[in-house]
Symmetry: C2
Subunit: 350 residues, 2 copies
DNA sequence: CTGAAAGCGCTTACAG
DNA sequence: CTGAAAGCGCTTACAG
């Protein structure tokens, strides 16, 4: 037999209405201002007062209304995530990471995909940020690389963090993913296997990540004394189809490279398709390496060696910097470095 | 030479503050209540008054503050999307669809992934809905199949829509995806190619979609006079790894089926891996068909014939039903039926 | 069809 | 350390 405990909040609960700051003030015998101080973690409250009020809050299950708070603060408790990256897994991981940081913080995540090639997109983000009085915005590549976007946000006093492969703003606003390091690791790995004739299929050089991955690879090779000839570098579009087209150029020329490093997994899948169709065995006759460590990497056959990015961590840090600015420096200093996941798509050249 | 036009809103603009309903009322010489009526599309406003006020709004770029409106309405302008589906592309498409419906509506999308197997998850959704005073919630499979979740939302008077493969709630709350039809189409297709010994790798039967796809297939076969023996049906977990395990059971038995229908593309990729490794040629020696038409389908080699779901449309309709209840019936009547996308992974049996 | 008053649930600015 | 008053930008309930 259970005894139904009569809680101090049963009036509000019974009437079906959520309790407000006034209820808490009345029930704990303090002014609403004191309750407000407690909600906002003000140090100007005596410990026993705080304890008493917090007990009441717990008992009635009080949580402050974000809209009322937002109205008074002139700022909402919403974090916007702005992105135009077409890769689903990347977006979802970034969202999960942001939500990791936002969990139990009172902030919520509002998603805002956009098309950074369309002319009005900056205005769209501005309306979004201003109308919702966003607490902050996470800028995900490639949108994060658009200086005009960042300038607009600074202009309307909307705080933001930028995720990018290289620093391009104040440290307190940057989460740097160091794509260059991942590409260098690929170069070292392939050189270590004995490859010297390695081709590159790069992403569009209008993307900073593509530049970083390309340069990181080429420089790491150079540092070991191996030059990558221009003809071995084919620029593609980060898409499967563009990977197919690039592979066709590379695999049916006079001399076939013994390995191909692709700027992402999508394009590596394109190389797989061309190689399979042409009867070129991976990895025996051709080593292939991707970038992203997307789900695709382990589902392809043979499974694809690829560079893992810590996308979820990246998202978590970018969001945390928005809601805990004081921790920003420590967080941004935390190095998120990609690293190689070795699977079955590379071996020493024949 | 451009003449800078002095707009009626230049005072507010110059002071850097967004204009409010009071500014609009003052500038157009009406009461704020009339402005409010116009914001809320009330018919109780004379047309010329409305036109005049709307002109002022446009001129100063006014848009009402959602937090102030929400506070007064006791309801926010946020739509929650609750899901526990691990497939990234599905989630992202669903989000895009919802955003299609929400665009320029004043509503925003707040994402809320959860784990429907964890005990406290319903409480988590409740807190989310109550604290944010959500305008409505979209329930995505498999969370949408949890009656206790739907009951809780009804209990707290939070409107919701459920996306599922079969109706399990009032029509005004359902978006039905008819997975059964897609599976039946696969059966017809494989029978048409001449297959009779077809195996199934199904999703977990705790998922309604898995039941629907399995039953849809088996019944369509039966209607053409072909029985599917029990031993030809292997239950797996909708994951790549579970697909691998199931394929190993099916492909190395006494008699190999000539075709396998997989409950999703992930598991089909698992079949590919096992077949490739064992030197079983797809589609010559084994036809394989998936479900989802995920990006994976076209990236595998040979490209995978699969059932396309109209996920983005589904998301759009589910969101539209929340913000335009009057259109709900018409929308839910709109049939979203999956259909087969034929690629290269099936051919007549040898 | 239009408006003045009161209120939504908080915080800021000021006072003590 | 604590509180009474005014205000954030809207809408509801009531009146005309």
């Amino acid at each position: 037999m259970t005894v139904r405990r009569k809680s101090a909040g049963s009036d509000a609960a019974a009437s079906g209405k959520a309790s407000t700051i006034n209820d808490i003030a009345r029930l704990s015998g303090v002014s609403k201002k004191t309750v407000s101080r407690i909600i906002n973690d003000s140090p100007l409250v005596r410990k026993d007062t705080r304890d008493r009020v917090e007990a009441v809050m717990r008992e009635v299950g009080y949580s402050p209304d974000p809209m009322a708070r937002g109205l008074a603060f002139r700022k909402s408790f919403l974090i916007g995530m702005v992105y135009d990256n077409p890769t689903a897994q990347y977006i979802v991981n970034m969202q999960y990471g942001a939500l990791d940081a936002l969990r139990d913080s009172g902030f919520e995540l509002v998603v805002h995909p956009c098309d950074s090639r369309s002319p009005g997109y900056i205005d769209g983000v501005r309306r979004f940020a201003q109308q919702q009085k966003l607490h902050g915005v996470m800028l995900v590549p490639r949108a994060s690389e658009d200086q005009a976007l960042a300038d607009m946000l600074a202009d309307i006093d909307c705080r933001y963090t930028r995720i990018a492969s290289v620093a391009m703003d104040e440290p307190s606003r940057m989460v740097v993913t160091h794509d260059r390091n991942g590409a260098a690791e690929v170069a070292d790995y392939l050189l270590g296997l004995g490859h010297t004739d390695i081709a590159l299929i790069t992403g569009p050089q209008a993307y900073r990540s593509a530049i970083e991955r390309t340069q990181g690879f080429i420089e790491a090779m150079a540092s070991k004394g191996v030059q990558v000839p221009k003809a071995r570098v084919v620029e593609a579009g980060y898409t499967f189809e563009s990977g197919v087209a690039a592979a066709e150029k590379l695999l049916f020329g006079k001399q076939r490279p013994t390995a191909i490093f692709c700027g992402n997994d999508e394009m590596a899948a394109g190389v797989y398709k061309v190689a399979m169709r042409a009867g070129i065995a991976i990895p025996r006759q051709l080593s292939v390496i991707g970038f992203d460590d997307s789900p695709l990497a382990s589902r392809l056959w043979p499974s694809l060696t690829s560079v893992r990015r810590h996308t979820r961590d990246t998202g978590r840090i970018a969001a945390a910097m928005l809601i805990q600015p004081e921790a920003a420096v420590a967080l941004s200093a935390a190095s998120i470095r990609p690293h190689l996941i070795i699977r079955d798509s590379a071996q020493p050249p024949e």
